[in-house]
Symmetry: C2
Subunit: 185 residues, 2 copies
Amino acid sequence: MQDHNEMAREAIERAKGNVVHSIAETMDLYGVTPSAGRLYGTMYFENAMTLDEMKEELKMSKPSMSTAVRTLQEINVVHKTWQKGSRKDVFVAEKNFFKSLIHFFCIKWMREVRLNLEAIEMSEKDLQAVIQDSKVDKAIRAEAERHYELIHESKKYYYWLETLVESFETGDIFRYLPIPDDDKK
Amino acid sequence: MQDHNEMAREAIERAKGNVVHSIAETMDLYGVTPSAGRLYGTMYFENAMTLDEMKEELKMSKPSMSTAVRTLQEINVVHKTWQKGSRKDVFVAEKNFFKSLIHFFCIKWMREVRLNLEAIEMSEKDLQAVIQDSKVDKAIRAEAERHYELIHESKKYYYWLETLVESFETGDIFRYLPIPDDDKK
DNA sequence: CAAAACATTCAATTAAAATTTAACGAACTC
DNA sequence: GAGTTCGTTAAATTTTAATTGAATGTTTTG
């Protein structure tokens, strides 16, 4: 039955399309551009793809695919491999999308922690200098103190985030919140 | 000493500026526009602000402040209050920036879980239909099966994320990873 | 070593977001 | 109820980001 096959193909495409779309939307939340998101979603269903296959599948230009696949590599959800016989680069999507995203997050979080703690510590010094300078008007010193309290207080939350990230990266978090039924490997 | 006060003011501004900048950069990571991020950072140091004060402080237009402050309200890091005697709306930043961000995250994560699980379940149905249709070529059925396995497998990670969000929202996570020294209130 | 097959860079274009000015409408004041 | 004072909406502009076609450089092949 020709018809059955045709309908089946369409059904598969529809199924794939839905998932690709929602994956892309998810990644968009995390600052990945929609096209890179769609690309990842597409690769998720394929074993390995060349740039030309990507461009064909997404109907986009090769440079677009090149940059998209690079950003996907940067966030570690896609890796480059070789394929004997072919001169083309071949890319494969990390199937464990979720763990990849968590890792991606950890990187962003750590960056955030470092960035903010640096800024806070720098500012604390500035404010301390004002607070300790008795030649400065009381009102101004009071303001400095107020600000100091505020940012000093916030530090502990960044420290906490640091421990959270650690627990994600070591996998300790899964001891507290186990994955329902981890895969065999 | 006039000079001391002047320098103190500058030091305070510098200190504030640094922190505002890094807060804005952090929020940018989470899809908040830079101006909204700067606004939150600025409000973080103030007790309450009107739209006019914001526009003055950030040197931007009033509609910009209006939209920025609305997005900040939507993600629950800013709240509207009243101030007797004034007809103007007054907004105050949630000082516990960190907890707010976590809450914000939980919302996004839950949305992501719902979205993806819906897409997956819909697709699973489509694929099941293909798999069970014996009139469809073996190769196509095999492809459907392959895709089915893939997306079915991913479901458990979304379930896991669901439990993580729960643990954040109930505060259970802090039993596992306590905050160094929680504030008195 | 010339030609072909790649991936990438660059400049130019196009598309999308953010921002502003102007206009509107609601709520208050006199 | 006329005139203000606000906040928001709408249209137009500016800014920024994504996308492409052409060109470049590198590796491979015959």
